[in-house]
Symmetry: C2
Subunit: 644 residues, 2 copies
């Protein structure tokens, strides 16, 4: 077949497949020819200058292509995407091809200077930036309109001609990573740097945060255990625990920023310049002039979007919130019924029945959260945001508000309307534990089992051909293309966020929550690692410098928890006993303490620098150098101009 | 005399004096020769390549020099300091000499392309960046040590050889500005663009803020008047006024950010890149290696500074706070005594006497504020901060904490300990009005009167020489060098900050405060304008993009005022009457409302974008263009590399 691909003569002998492109079955020949030509074409002609090779499967289908690139091409691409690498003098700098010799571990024959995930990120970037020149449509598909500057890959994706693009796993590396990550039973840190070089910064940062958060919860868990064991209910001990909790949660969130800065500095993403954001794939609109770029591209009126948001999305979210509260009231009816039943019968069975409503409710909450998630995604996508970041922010806001209410409304109701601390403790425990079990199951174990079954089926199918090395690649691609897609860290952060809510909002009522959270997170690390390595397709690396909007979400939660804990302590009989004469004084004291704690929180957040001193100095040094370079250049120019 | 200045042969015929340098009387000749040579020397030789001319006064002293520069030199300097100017296509861009033709109003013979204050700013920057090469000391002054890279001007200043550097007024321009600014009685906006081109951005921004703040207070004043006139004391009207106030204060602070962005975009400072910050003049330490620049320069241990801050400054501030509270208690004794006296005598005199303690206390507060200000400056300077910005932040923090307590402690005491609303209203009125009168007097009228007397004296002295144009310059320089120095907008902002406190903290008790604030601010605009134009030396322009830490200070004040107003409303008899049975419910309701208001405030601050959409688009456009340019450059490079 190779003869047809006349422009593929540039094949390097050591072609290393990095990224897989799967086209729809039955894609027209002229389309394939045009697309592959654009991919291998010279940069000067508007191509991506990458290497491409068709993957011939046993049934002769030719809709899967492997993409690679020469080492030089990758290095130039690293400059384009703005990768930051370590120099020989241990400072981090933007990589440029002309200064390549000054970088650590650089050698013209060193294929490992760029990690495989970096190479794949570069190829993805180059493919996405392959833009239409004067084509009016995709050849062979007149309905797939193009205009100058439109990303070809995005148009192919939205028209279903391109099924998917995904990076290949590196079986060797993955095995090593699995071994150091979760292969052996050990107490210790995760190999975050290895995770980062295999999966990219976003995922490594999630695992870093998960690990950090787990460690940070340990002091709370350790202090919480004796409260449970000895059933401490003294006033002073309670207040101490809650105060510690509140200040501690502020401290850990501030310290995380510093740790995050250290990590992302080492990875280079802290210094990476923001790229100009392209419209997200789903964005549509009438062709118009973009006021920022001056290019002709789809434009969608911001007023129309606002109308959609405020007239449809907001009412819908409110309706969902109302529905969630309605379900909550049904739960309380059930709870009431179970209590009556227990009082009538008073058997072991009936006492077990007491837990049933909570468990049912926890399951219903999880189901509602998941259904709402789809609705929120649909709505946000219908709002037609131009940028991925704006889409994400609107989605996160929608999901956070609903999940917060859905998960915590019943607890707030029990605590501040029913004033039933015993029920609160019981509900909290049931909700926390049930949701953790459900999550672990739905997120990792179920997909893992499905995936294992699938692998077995494939292996059985291709059993006879298994020996040859080349076919093993075919096998690998076939296997990986059927794997599920990892849709980003959203759900994982959301889970942690809700867990943080369970731990901190009512911490002084149920000190054991932190213990469960720690236990869950330890297994979570393992199951998430399993999920990343075994269940999903390898995701593209995504450079990032921080956990973004989640930092704000966690901080908001910790502010709310100051309020709830202060009220809870104020309501406890032990504290009430201290103010026998005047409830007024009690309420005023609680309000005063609450305001003081909030003030301390804000001052602490203000005083603790977001970046450690050494990172600050390194950043200042870089800035100074670039300013100096600019000044030198200007001085030279000035000297020349003044000489004339 | 000209023969001696052989290196001054480059004199342009149209030398325009911009900046005055005053050396100490009796400065050694070799020093003067070396210094002036460095100023006129070529850039390539490490000079500033400016023009300098001695000013020969009638008594033959030669310690005053006028500095100017050629038009070309100024344009190159504009590029060095990173001035941003408007282009022909109405976009704002960093000025570069090579692209000069694309800028609006640029012509090789147009001397007005750069405003005079911009020229003076450039000269100041060039003088401050005149650095020692291999000199070990200032010639003639072995005790004035130099090291490579040390700013010569700063060393001369700290050693007292250089008395002062200041920009010259432009009598013609100033007259025009005075006329449009405050010369005629008119209702309307200030000529902010003209103020900016004469005094620079920092000062124009202060006047812009003052004007904006005054306009923003008008709705509060208008709504407040009927409360006073009709003595409204209904519950609902009070709550409405306070709620309006709280939300309004959030809105005005958010809207200011947008207005500020529009203004500074037009002025170009929003886009100006931050320059690398040099150590401040007063900074001292042992010579060491700066970790950021890698240069040898004074280094001072951060631990020593922390010790000074926490072991000396913090205790001192606490002591001052204690002292301020002590004075407050004396005031309450006086107040008590006055009340007793009035009850005994009950005459017109004794009823007037009732106001005397408040007035005395207001005067004492002002005096204490001013004394403390000196102490704070001394202490902060002794803390030996390396950067001017860090010095300013520590100084502002010290001064704000003390002034806040000093001004408002008595009001808090009256409101929340004595629960005496009548006394609160009276004290508030007295404090506000007295401090406003004192400020207007001490800040503008007194210096104006002193200045006027001084001008008269000088005029009498040089009366006979008044006709010649050249001598008029001598006269002007002599006059201006004796004028007071304007030490920046700190005191002006502080005054507004305290006023904002008087207006918002207890707004529901004394709605008339806003009226007084508006009246004061209208005269304040005039007296501050008078002060800038008539009393002080012209200050160097200081490019700035926002009001900095003051935005935070005002926002903090508005958060505190939510709390105080909620408590005040909760304490009012009208609201108390609504909850006849349970004080508990009252307190809980107040707390709930307060938390709701605070939440609304934060959501509003979050939702209102800091920059208007059009500015956002313009900024995005600029960023896009620079990224495109970079990409083009890289593509060219890549294409070349790949061809090889």
């Amino acid at each position: 077949m190779k003869e047809t691909w006349s422009f593929l003569d540039t094949f390097e002998p050591n072609f290393r497949p990095l990224v897989v492109i799967e086209l729809a079955k039955g894609t027209k020949k002229e389309t394939i020819e045009w697309f592959t030509k654009r991919i291998v074409d010279k940069k000067a002609n508007g191509g991506a200058q990458l290497l491409i090779k068709p993957l011939v499967t046993e049934n002769g289908d030719e809709n899967i292509y492997l993409v690679g690139a020469s080492q030089l091409r990758l290095l130039l691409g690293a400059e384009t995407v703005g990768l930051v690498k370590e120099c020989n003098d241990n400072s981090m700098r933007s990589f440029t091809y002309s200064s390549r010799k000054t970088f650590k571990d650089f050698a013209d024959d060193n294929q490992n200077f760029l990690t495989m995930s970096e190479c794949q990120y570069i190829i993805k970037h180059e493919l996405e930036n392959l833009r239409a020149k004067d084509e009016k449509m995709i050849p062979g598909y007149p309905q797939a309109k193009l205009y100058p500057g439109k990303s070809i890959v995005r148009r192919l994706l939205t028209n279903g001609i391109l099924v998917q693009i995904f990076p290949l796993h590196d079986r060797e590396e993955l095995k090593k990573l699995r071994h150091t990550w979760y292969g052996r039973v050990k107490i210790g840190y995760q190999p975050l740097d290895e995770i980062r070089s295999y999966f990219g910064e976003t995922i490594a940062l999630y695992f870093g945060f998960l690990e950090y958060f787990t460690f940070a919860l340990i002091p709370m868990a350790v202090i919480g255990i004796p409260y449970y064991v000895f059933a401490w209910e003294d006033y002073d001990k309670y207040v101490m625990f809650a105060t510690f909790n509140l200040l501690w949660s502020t401290v850990i969130l501030e310290v995380w920023k510093r740790i995050c800065a250290v990590m992302t500095y080492r990875w280079g993403t802290l210094l990476m310049k923001r790229q100009f954001e392209e419209p997200r794939p789903g964005f549509h609109g009438a062709l118009g002039i973009n006021p920022v770029t001056g290019r002709e591209e789809p434009v969608y009126s911001s007023i129309k979007r606002q109308l959609r948001i405020y007239l449809v999305s907001v009412p819908f979210v409110c309706l969902c919130l109302y529905f969630s509260l309605y379900v909550m009231m049904i739960y309380f009816d059930l709870e009431h019924w179970a209590l009556d039943y227990h009082e009538e019968n008073n058997s072991t069975f009936s006492s077990l029945m007491l837990y049933v409503p909570s468990i049912i409710y926890a399951v219903v909450i999880e189901i509602m959260n998941r259904i709402y998630r789809y609705a929120a995604e649909f709505l946000t996508s219908w709002e037609n945001h131009r940028l991925e970041s704006s889409y994400q922010n609107h989605l996160i806001l929608k999901v956070l508000v609903f999940n917060f209410l859905n998960c915590f409304a019943s607890l707030f109701y029990i605590a501040f309307v029913l004033f039933d601390m015993k029920l609160l403790r019981q509900s909290l425990a049931t909700l926390l534990i049930t949701s953790q079990i459900l999550n672990q199951f739905a997120e990792s174990l179920l997909p893992y089992w499905l995936q294992k079954r699938h692998v077995k089926k494939i292996k059985k199918h291709t059993h006879s051909l298994k020996t040859e090395m080349d076919l093993s690649l075919v096998e690998q691609v076939n296997l990986e293309k059927e794997m599920g897609t990892y849709f980003g860290t959203f759900d994982d952060y959301l889970e942690l966020f809700l867990q943080f809510g369970y731990v901190s909002l009512f911490s002084c009522v149920y000190p054991l929550a932190a213990v469960f959270a720690v236990l869950n997170n330890i297994t979570e690390i393992y199951s998430d690692a399993l999920k990343m390595c075994r269940v999903y397709k390898r995701p593209f690396a995504e450079p990032t410098a921080n956990i973004g909007v989640w930092q704000l979400a966690f901080e908001t939660m910790s502010v709310i928890s100051v309020v709830t804990n202060c009220i809870l302590i104020g309501m406890s009989p032990q504290v009430n006993a201290l103010f026998p004469d005047s409830k007024m004084d009690l309420v005023l004291t609680v309000a005063l303490v609450e305001h003081l704690l909030l003030a301390i929180k804000f001052v602490m957040a203000f005083v603790i620098p977001d970046k450690p001193r050494e990172i600050q100095i390194k950043l200042a040094k870089l800035e100074f150098e670039s300013l100096e370079a600019l000044k030198q250049q200007q001085m030279k120019l000035a000297a020349e101009s003044l000489k004339e």
